[in-house]
Symmetry: C2
Subunit: 216 residues, 2 copies
DNA sequence: CCATTGCGTAACCTACGGTAGCGTAATATC
DNA sequence: GATATTACGCTACCGTAGGTTACGCAATGG
């Protein structure tokens, strides 16, 4: 079922080889993570020697960057298309469905996006990939919140909540033994989010219980 | 502010050394991930040589296991305490607050729990650490759903949605430039979840838009 | 027949997990 | 107080894996 490219498995045109390596890289990065994936194995699975990978991507990081970039583009395009029109409610459910559809179609890509940070070893922390997405959603949410008369500063909270919701459910969904169809899951999520947002108090007051402090 | 154990920084009693190594390991695993963290650096930061780590934990995996186990215990205890009593609504908000409090108090531990899987290299995928939590929540939810007359099979969806929500918001919260107090964030999350759950239709019907298919 | 493209061989070198064996400080025992 | 015993720790090393590179060969197209 994997692509039987051409008649000759031996030599491939550069573009095809590139595509193949990206695909293999995506799969391996997904199941092993960046650090635990070796260029050797990537090359081996492509029936190719290591230097090929370097020729095409300049190294492990380069390949990883390409993989991540493609996935980001893919999911961003899907979701942006889904939220581009319709009522707010439709946009919400559309976004959830687009997300889940992406998860369904590209489970490996999704896993890569969920996994830990790229090899950038700067001092600070770098936001996970899903983070960017949440920020984009945050932008949309700020607008919606403003027009609806809610506290705009709370928008990022809900944006990250929603993205996290979908992301986690998506992860569970890919590994569930008896996964319901995407539409059902999306409708549940959207219902939860929508109803939650609709009936949101303007200013939720904490009903503070005892706040646990660290026991030594 | 870190513990000034005894007068002599040179030699430490076994228990103290152990604790120190766990702490250092937690921090490093948090910021670098498992694979990218070297025993050498752990030892170096503890002003100790590598064999010490091996002596106390049997190796890298051993230390990692201890770190993870402690965090799991910590967060599980906090949350279970929070949901042990009170009205459902209080339990929900209490759980969110407990989670965020944990995140606040032990950001490194939280980062470790969020990061990718342990070094177990069995064929299949292993559930992330947050996954267990979601499953526990799923158990509670199944019960609640049954008593409330909702579809029990949808419980895991909402369980993972809730955990993902809190986890993602928690992550954002630790890195936010101007983070609101935990109580406020928790109340927002709890409000979203609670209102969403309360006004949930018994059987949400998907208002299916065009479902995006992969464009080749 | 020659150039360009695609690729393999064979290393290099660093880093890291793990281990063996040897001190040295503190405590116990006589 | 001297000596044995234990607890704690270090230096030095091994094996290997993995990223990266230098160089040379085979196929393809004009």
């Amino acid at each position: 079922m994997p692509a039987a490219r051409t008649s000759k498995p031996g030599r491939l045109p550069a573009a095809a080889r590139r595509a193949q390596l990206v695909e293999i890289g995506r799969r391996l990065f997904a199941e092993r993570g960046y650090e635990a994936t070796s260029v050797e194995e990537i090359a081996e699975r492509a029936k190719v020697s290591k230097p090929i990978v370097y020729e095409h991507f300049g190294g492990k990081e380069g390949l990883y960057a390409v993989v991540v970039d493609r996935e980001i583009e893919h999911i961003a395009a899907s979701i942006e298309a889904a939220v581009s029109s319709g009522s707010p409610r439709e946009r919400l459910e559309g976004a959830a469905l687009a997300f889940l559809t992406y998860v369904e179609e590209r489970p490996d890509g999704f896993a890569v996006l969920l996994r830990d940070a790229p090899p950038t070893k700067r001092g600070g922390e770098m936001p996970a990939l899903m983070y960017d997405l949440a920020d984009r959603v945050g932008g949309i949410f700020s607008e919606l919140f403003r027009t609806a008369g809610y506290d705009e500063k709370a928008a990022p909270i809900y944006a990250h909540a929603l993205v996290g919701m979908v992301a986690f459910v998506g992860q569970w969904w890919t590994e569930a033994r008896k996964p319901p169809p995407a539409e059902v899951v999306a409708s549940h999520i959207a219902a939860l989010a929508w109803m939650g947002l609709r009936h949101l108090p303007k200013k939720p007051s904490p009903l503070v219980k005892t706040r646990r402090r660290a026991p030594a």
